[in-house]
């Protein structure tokens, strides 16, 4: 069967993405990178830690799952009867892994010369769940240690506490891995229910990056996927969100961990937006971060000389159609001073004129940086996955950069309201 392949070309990066949707609904993206030795294959589902409440595709009934189940499922999918997929890949000299985020889970492999083999193994990995009472129990010990590792990580704590202060009902408040208590409730039936629902082709995508032949790749995927498609349903999943108020839950969360260098995150809760607008906010935030918070900013120089910051100040936008916020974070032994200064500074930025020279110079910097970053194969798949999840246009980030105006920056800064801001400190 001939597939209809859409070609998306970007002139700035001299890069091409091929896109097709298979008859079962599976989206396939291939970014060809001539001359590169490594090939990356990713198989993902639009299912992450926040999708706890949904209609089970097999029973048609609404279910609510324990926290951490998407991540648990990610771990367990590697386990097969009498063997472990991580081990199988590794024995072929192919490296593989997976990650779970708030709204998606991705399994991937990287190879130099075993692309076909790796791709077939990846599809098999995702398509053949094998959950048993024993292997679920075993994983509780391993994930328990993963949770403990994150519990000891100051960076992780300061970030999650900022989310917990901002969000009232939204499941983004919950650790991706769940808690030792919540994962103890997971059993094999729960895993199958989640798997059958979210790992259906209609909810999934494959992304390939590297020097590969497009037609051959699509054929391999199509042939292999078909092998596993008896008795499975492929349809849109009914997910239930929560209604999240625009106000914050609490102004401040402080945690004592006995660390030397306190960390601080300031969050500003925003009203979610969608599609290309999400990308636009990311690009604007990136410019703001560089112009006003980077080491070359006047603000940084002042704070540094005061001894109020000891490392970078990051200003990062995070958002989907479902949540939206800014997180400003840094390390400081003088958290009282830096938090007050950041709040005042943001208010001042709203009221002051934007320096046109600084703005143009920063844009110029970003144009160069985008080209340098595009060399990295990871950059290609990140852009594709972002576009799948946000339903945004591919390469919109590059297109919008040249069109951003001073007014856009100003408008965005004005959406940061002090009453919607929170402080998280770990010390």
């Amino acid at each position: 069967m001939k597939n209809n392949i859409e070609i998306i070309k970007n002139e700035t990066l001299n890069e091409t993405i091929h896109k097709t949707i298979l008859s079962n609904g599976l989206e396939v993206y291939i970014c060809v990178r001539p001359g590169f030795t490594k090939k990356i294959g990713m198989f993902g589902t639009k299912y992450g830690s926040i999708n706890n409440d949904f209609v089970d595709i097999s029973t048609g009934k609404r279910v609510v799952m324990p926290d951490g189940v998407a991540h648990f499922l990610e771990h367990k999918l590697f386990e097969k009867e009498g063997e472990n997929s991580l081990d199988l890949f590794s024995k072929e000299g192919i490296s593989s892994n997976a990650y779970t985020s708030f709204d998606h889970t991705v399994y991937f492999f990287e190879t130099i010369d075993k692309f076909k083999k790796g791709l077939e193994m990846l599809i098999e990995l995702v398509k053949t769940p094998y959950f048993t009472v024993e292997n679920v129990k075993k994983e509780q010990g391993i994930i328990g240690q993963e949770i403990s590792m994150y519990d000891d990580d100051p960076n992780f704590n300061v970030y999650f506490n900022a989310l917990r202060a901002m969000y009232i009902n939204h499941p983004i408040r919950i650790d991706i891995a769940g808690t030792i208590e919540s994962i103890s409730k997971i059993d094999k039936d729960i895993l199958y229910s989640c798997y059958n629902t979210f790992y259906n082709p209609n909810n999934m995508f494959i992304v390939i990056v590297g020097d590969v032949n497009v037609e051959d790749t699509v054929n391999i995927i199509e042939t292999k996927v078909k092998l596993y498609e008896k008795n499975i349903k492929s349809e849109k999943v009914m997910k239930f969100g929560v209604s999240e108020p625009t106000n914050i839950l609490q102004k401040k969360i402080e945690k004592v961990m006995g660390i030397y260098m306190p960390q601080i995150s300031i969050g500003y809760k925003l009203v979610p937006t969608e599609k290309n607008e999400i990308i636009k906010r990311e690009v604007i935030s990136d410019l703001i971060s560089e112009m006003y918070f980077s080491k070359s900013s006047k603000f940084y120089e002042i704070e540094y000389n005061k001894g109020a910051v000891s490392d970078d100040i990051d200003f990062i936008y995070e958002g989907t159609t479902d949540f939206s916020h800014i997180i400003i974070s840094t390390m400081s032994t003088k958290t009282d001073i830096i938090q007050e200064d950041i709040f005042n500074y943001i208010e001042n930025l709203k009221n002051n004129d934007i320096d046109l020279k600084l703005f143009e110079n920063t844009k110029r910097r970003k144009i160069g940086e985008n080209i340098v970053e595009s060399e990295n194969l990871n950059n290609s798949y990140r852009r594709i996955i972002d576009s799948i999840l946000n339903e945004s246009q591919l390469y919109y980030d590059l297109e919008i950069l040249s069109n951003i105006t001073i007014e856009d920056i100003k408008d965005f800064l004005n959406t940061l309201e002090y009453s919607k801001s929170v402080i998280s400190i770990v010390k």
Binding site: G93, S95, Q145, N361, L377
Partner: protein
């Protein structure tokens, strides 16, 4: 010119310039060198402040400039790095590489010195920055446990010092030390420069660099002698030390420090395979047993330090499982020593190491690193040669090096929280 190395590949769009000062150091001299190079990177006569530097770099389409420190065994390397776009990919084909190289010259050889002294304010700032860095290394438990293992294992060697040095030595650095350290750094170090990436349209870049830096590049010490110091500096302990350290944490970390006796140049390939089989991949003995079989840990890995001939094994565990984890880990090492290794373990380790080597081709920074390593060790190994040598390793080669690996240290970073 002898110490300028070029790596050209047109699949890249940008260019990486790495200017290295490699030198022999004593433990207490590390902070002086670190602070000196930080001061250099923060301003010179032409670009007076960080802000001026960054503004200039922005105008060069976001040319990236930073410094990186690394211990190469007992040697110390300070790398000043630039990353910029090849003119072909920029509007109006504007060249930013040559201005970036001129900029680097200003930073390195035209620093802000008045009356034989660097600026006191910058000095104080960078000194306190480094003190913070040293102090906060304890905040990340797993990394800290590994660092601590390196430190205890190589207590008497320069390598066994944190990358930014010890607290006390850093506290003792005075402004007066900086001017001398600077002179020593630029005059007594072995200098090597690597330019890698898309060098299309820059055939003469080595000539250009030579014209800019001129005699600064001349004083190159033969580094072969320097690099061999790492091998000579070893002291193998017969007894196994067991050390426990308390800290506020949920998870405990167990580590083992191991050293290779009578390390030889050619052992490099077999030792890498040894590491891969023991704890380098998900099919390794540590991953399969400590994690998959016994469910004791999420992280269970080993790392080989090629310029030092040591290994560090680390796993994040529950403290009550310390004895059990220790037994399981020691058993994996014993299997290695007894060469209880299957052909399939050997082959998959080779495959994964070969893939890693091939992947260097995709990164201009990895390619630059290879060129630098070749330069300081006066070798000229290509990726293909490395792969060929890796392929040649047989089970008996792994068995031979395995017998030379001795456990010297078992360390536990334990939790106060976990005792409750």
């Amino acid at each position: 010119m002898k110490n300028i190395y070029k790596v050209n590949d047109n699949k890249f769009k940008s260019i990486y310039v790495s200017y290295n000062f490699t030198f022999e150091t004593k433990k207490d001299e590390i902070p002086k060198n670190v602070i000196t190079s930080l001061i250099l990177s923060k301003g010179c006569n032409k670009y007076k402040t960080s802000k001026e530097i960054e503004e200039y770099l922005s105008s060069l389409y976001g040319t990236n400039f930073d410094i990186n420190m690394e211990k190469i065994g007992d040697l110390y390397n300070i790398e000043f790095r630039l990353e910029c776009v090849n003119k072909e990919f920029l509007p109006n084909k504007e060249d930013v590489l040559k201005p970036a190289i001129d900029f680097l010259y200003e930073i390195l050889y035209n620093p802000k010195i008045e009356n034989n002294q660097f600026d006191i304010v910058t000095f104080e700032r960078e000194k306190s920055f480094i003190l913070d860095k040293i102090n906060k290394r304890k905040d990340e438990k797993l990394k800290y446990a590994v660092l601590k293992t390196e430190e205890i294992l190589c207590e008497k060697e320069p390598f066994g010092t944190y990358i930014y040095g010890n607290i006390k030595d850093a506290e003792d650095v005075k402004l007066e030390d900086i001017a001398n350290t600077y002179i020593k750094l630029i005059e007594k170090s072995s200098i090597s420069i690597v330019v890698s990436g898309n060098l299309n349209g820059y055939d003469d870049i080595d000539q250009y660099i030579e014209n800019v830096f001129k005699n600064k590049l001349e004083k190159v010490i033969l580094s072969k002698e320097l690099i061999n110091i790492s091998y000579k500096n070893r002291n193998v302990n017969e007894e196994i030390k067991e050390i426990k350290e308390k800290t506020q944490t949920n998870q405990a970390v167990i580590t083992l420090g191991m050293r290779v006796e009578n390390l030889e140049d050619d052992d490099f390939y077999a030792l890498n395979i040894y590491n891969s089989i023991l704890g380098g991949t998900p099919s390794s003995k540590l991953f399969q047993n400590v994690r998959e079989k016994e469910s004791l840990a999420y992280t269970a890995k080993s790392r080989y330090y090629r310029f030092k001939g040591i290994f560090v094994i680390y796993a994040g565990i529950e403290e009550i499982n310390y004895e059990k984890a220790k037994t399981v880990i020691l058993k994996q090492i014993e299997e290695m020593t007894n060469c209880d290794i299957s052909e399939s373990e050997l082959n998959s380790s080779k495959e994964s190491l070969i893939s890693d080597l091939l992947e260097w081709n995709d990164s201009k920074i990895s390619l630059a690193k290879l060129a630098y390593t070749n330069a300081i060790s006066e070798k000229n190994l290509t990726i293909d040669e490395l792969i060929d040598n890796m392929k040649k390793v047989q089970l008996e080669d792994v068995a031979r090096v395995a017998k030379k690996v001795k456990v010297e240290l078992i360390y536990l970073l334990g939790g106060e929280d976990s005792e409750k």
